[in-house]
């Protein structure tokens, strides 16, 4: 494509089917403790 470059195609839909195991880190435990950023947590199934 000339005007658009896709950086990534998105995995949220497929993750809905395979996700939810709950083994990942609790977001507030890692480094924040006062705000909430969940999008930077790692998936344990990776």
């Amino acid at each position: 494509m000339k005007h658009i470059k896709t950086l990534n195609t998105g995995t949220l839909k497929s993750s809905a089917v395979h996700g939810g195991c709950g083994e990942c880190q609790t977001s507030c435990q890692s480094a924040c403790k006062t705000s909430c950023t969940v999008g930077n947590q790692e998936c344990e199934k990776k």
């Binding site: 658009i4 998105g10 995995t11 993750s15 950023t37």
Partner: protein
């Protein structure tokens, strides 16, 4: 839903529901203002003074292609997904307040300078043991369990920390669990013995420092009023050097006193602390150091500056990471996790030295949120359900927000503190979070662009 934005010299569009991210040119950016809600002829007419008709036509074809491929304007189907509806959170993480006492005084301390609005006290081994038992017994078939030793200052109760780590390890095999212990410390009591212990047994360590000496010492001082910077910096350097490749964060708070906080992050990086996390203070609007809406423009410019510095230093010996810019856009957590939020009150609990249970460390001392006590074995599952249901689809502001799959609805404690309702997010926190997400996407775009060149 989409979100388009410009940062630096780049334009981006995020497809909110799929997570797809595209770098776009200015024509696409402008066309998305009108398309696909208006037809092609109308859009060509709208843009005729700025772009040739052929370019606009090409652009609209590319947009159509992405829509067909589920990479733009993807539907949100998650709220009705069986996986989301059937999720049954179990407790998998504890914040153990092993010391409601502190050896320094921080002006902004949400814990009332260490005592959490109660008497100064240390957790006994017996209470900590009961807390770990509760965690194991309420964790279902989750294998990975997290325990953060927190305070006050947890190193004021270091012997109990060691006893609890040993006790936790003794439970692992029989219950098929894997404990991940972490420690959050102001660093004052660190010595060689403690550093070696922490580096051996803690999977992550959070080291509190606010940045430049004058910034740190204005807010973080000893009981006699002296600054802490000179006490802790060399200790942090030594701990990190001894730690090798194991995870750590230097974690700071910025306030109205240092709205140029990017300089504090870079100062810490220059000290050799390359894994950083610095966050806005949580304060009452009447506090002199509280951040207000009038500061947002300045703070956003600081995130721009920090993002540019991170890109410039990438792959150099001055490279660093910043916690809130570390979005994994190619995968990251599943959407179920993103919808569920931080887990406070349902997956994550805080336990005081007396054994009282709260949804998280920020609620400790607020009787309304007391959920039980580990000694009595009580848990108020009414509150657990209230927190479990405080997800993005049940928050009006979040439903319509493009950032919902990255912040997952924000911090419940902030929402409660500012709006007296965990279902109404804290606006300034939302604006800063959105800027951090945009900056993360910008960094990802820049680094990938540079790799291709």
């Amino acid at each position: 839903m989409i979100h388009k934005f410009k940062q630096g010299d780049m334009y981006f569009v995020l497809d909110v529901n799929s997570g797809a991210v595209h770098v776009i040119d200015e024509i696409v950016y402008d066309a998305l203002e009108y398309y696909p809600q208006n037809n092609a002829i109308s859009v060509i007419r709208q843009l005729k003074d700025k772009y040739p008709e052929q370019s606009v036509k090409e652009t609209l074809e590319e947009i159509d292609y992405l829509i067909e491929q589920d990479m733009l304007y993807t539907d949100d189907t998650y709220v009705n997904s069986i996986e989301f509806q059937n999720r049954s959170p179990v407790i998998k993480a504890l914040c153990l307040h092993v010391a409601h006492d502190c050896n320094i005084r921080c002006a902004y301390c949400f814990a009332s300078q260490g005592d959490f609005k109660g008497d100064r006290s240390l957790m006994s081994f017996e209470v900590g043991k009961k807390a770990l038992d509760l965690l194991v017994s309420h964790s279902g078939n989750r294998r990975n369990l997290e325990v953060d030793f927190f305070g006050g200052e947890p190193l004021m109760n270091f012997e109990v920390v060691k006893q609890l780590v040993s006790y936790g390890r003794s439970l692992e095999a029989a219950h098929n669990k894997n404990f991940r212990f972490t420690l959050t410390t102001n660093g004052v009591l660190l010595n060689d013995e403690i550093m070696d212990y922490v580096n051996t047994h803690m999977s992550n360590v959070v080291l509190s420092i606010d940045g430049r000496k004058e910034v740190n010492d204005k807010m973080r001082y000893t009981i006699s009023g002296g600054g802490t910077y000179d006490i802790i910096v060399e200790k942090f350097k030594k701990l990190i050097e001894k730690r090798g490749n194991k995870s750590y964060y230097v974690r700071g708070t910025y306030t109205k006193n240092n709205l140029d906080f990017a300089n504090d992050v870079l100062h810490m990086v220059d000290l050799g602390f390359t894994s950083t996390s610095v966050e806005p203070v949580v304060a009452k609007p009447t506090d002199s150091y509280a951040i207000g809406e009038e500061d947002l423009e300045t703070l956003n410019a600081q995130y721009d500056q920090l993002a540019d510095a991170l890109i410039e230093r990438h792959n150099t010996d001055k490279a660093f990471t910043f916690f809130h810019f570390a979005l994994d856009l190619s995968q990251g957590p599943c959407v179920i996790k993103r919808l569920s939020g931080c887990g406070a009150g349902s997956e994550y609990l805080a336990v005081t030295p007396e054994g009282d249970i709260y949804p998280c460390h920020q609620f400790v001392g607020n009787d309304h949120f007391k959920m039980g006590n580990v000694l009595a074995g009580i848990l108020d599952f009414g509150l657990t359900n209230e927190f479990k249901n405080a997800h993005v689809y049940n928050k009006e502001k979040c439903r319509a927000c493009w950032a919902k799959f990255y912040c997952s609805g924000g911090c419940h404690a902030n929402a409660h503190n500012f709006n007296n309702d965990i279902y109404i997010p804290y606006d300034i926190g939302c604006e800063l979070e959105k800027k951090r997400i945009e900056s993360s996407i910008y960094i990802y775009g820049k680094l990938n662009q540079n790799q291709e060149e």
